[in-house]
Symmetry: C2
Subunit: 287 residues, 2 copies
């Protein structure tokens, strides 16, 4: 499908994309760049990629498709090293507004052949070693082209992800960031605040020794990489805070219902939450 795909940033996501491209034979040549040279060397040894580049500018020079998979906070520095030719460029960042800002800051506008993207999949694990060839299979990929986007570029980026087993959604940058604030950034934040709330407890060890299912699930994503998620939270700060404040209103409500011992209102509240979760379960197979 492609002659030469270049992956910039060879971590969990970049590594998993490489494995999936290899599995589905989507590129004749597959090259990666990472600031950690041992990591890309290892990628070549493991046959995940065909070679690695020493610099970003040399990596993207002859590329047909460039996939940017560095942390959100490092994106601008990477973009500054790209000499725009006729490459198709896409990214995998969790926040699209800040990515477009970075792109506009570097190239003055979004180049028509740059299609912002975000595969809705991940793991609390970190780094290339945690890569999985099926990480994206069955998941959604959101693309946020604008009116000037090149149709061929959009088509090719869509097709790459579809062939990797993904469903494609097209939406605006704003809608993406609003939805992700609610469905991903907020639950990540809640998970971290929940785990952090145990940190300074005097009975922390006893608590952890007796924690079970609800603790396990609610706390899972708090094991994610702190630097990457600090980037994401700050990149989507306004929408995240908006979601967080709405959540805090809900917390106050249920707190008052519990404090006033209003059983039927507590139950009604829990029923609405259950309806949402049951709906989610009914539309997803990934449980």
């Amino acid at each position: 499908m492609f002659k030469r795909v270049v992956i910039i940033g060879f971590g969990l996501i970049g590594g998993s994309i490489a494995l999936s491209i290899k599995k589905h034979r989507l590129s004749k040549e597959l090259i990666a760049w990472d600031i950690d040279k041992d990591c890309v060397r290892k990628g070549v040894e493991l046959n995940m990629i065909d070679g690695f580049a020493e610099t970003i500018s040399s990596a993207v020079a002859g590329a047909e498709l460039v996939i940017l998979s560095v942390p959100v906070g490092e994106m601008r520095g990477v973009l500054e090293q790209i000499d725009l030719k006729d490459q198709i460029i896409t990214d995998v960042g969790s926040v699209k507004g800040s990515f477009v800002e970075d792109v506009e800051a570097v190239f003055s506008k979004v180049p028509p052949r740059l299609i912002p993207g975000h595969p809705i999949a991940g793991s609390e694990k970190k780094g290339m070693v945690a890569s999985a060839e099926d990480l994206f299979e069955g998941h959604s990929v959101i693309l946020t082209p604008n009116e000037e986007s090149d149709e061929t570029a959009l088509h090719k980026v869509s097709k790459l992800w579809r062939l990797m087993g993904c469903k494609i959604s097209i939406m605006s940058v704003q809608d993406h960031d609003t939805i992700l604030a609610k469905t991903s950034h907020l639950p990540h934040l809640l998970s971290s605040v929940f785990s952090e709330s145990i940190y300074s407890e005097s009975d922390r060890s006893a608590a952890l020794a007796h924690a079970a299912g609800s603790f396990r699930d609610v706390s899972r994503v708090s094991a994610s990489d702190p630097a990457i998620w600090a980037d994401i939270f700050l990149a989507n700060d306004l929408k995240l805070i908006e979601s967080l404040e709405r959540f805090m209103v809900g917390l106050e409500k249920i707190k008052n219902k519990i404090a006033s011992r209003n059983h039927s209102e507590v139950k009604n509240f829990l029923e609405r939450g259950k309806a949402v979760r049951d709906h989610f379960s009914s539309i997803t197979k990934e449980l």
Copy 2:
């Protein structure tokens, strides 16, 4: 080990206890009572139990061990129908303070052969049909005897759970309720409030269609039975509200750190959360 065990309340927990007792051959005779007669009839058909009783009083009359596994809010009504002889009695309720209050209200004090208990295991699924013989295997069971508890009764209840594959912890009623507020009741509440926060969103369908791992895990236990959890939240209201308020302080803190765009403080906060979760992962195999 026992001649006649009687299970009062034949739902997810009661049914799973029955399966485990059968699997490990821990009682010569195993009888259940439930308000839903079809459910216990089905239990006999499936060979989960040897028979069922029409009334609670007849069920417990000849029992050597009575296990109370009705919802927390129905406990007092059940206790009122028990004619105390020399049965050993235990329960599986998620709140021990309210159980002891119910017991004291009915029997004026906690009978020596009544040992409050709580297996730290469960599921968001509901009812006898969701029973699993290994639900408790590898999990903790907390027992909260007092100074007047009968040693033999405590020993026998402990042994039953140990033979079902559980680790036993002995602690006070207060410590149990404090720990469970933090590790179980709070995450259940957060999960429900999180799911409920999506309920009235205009983009709810789009949001759910693009939700992935963090949404799935944080929302899982919000599918739990609303009536049962309304009972639990009200039964442990003071300690739950205390935990909730501490959590809300954490939310305010991280909100301010994000609003002031303090990357290193956000990162430090997330690192403390990650430390707790990593500690939990290191001491539990159940991941």
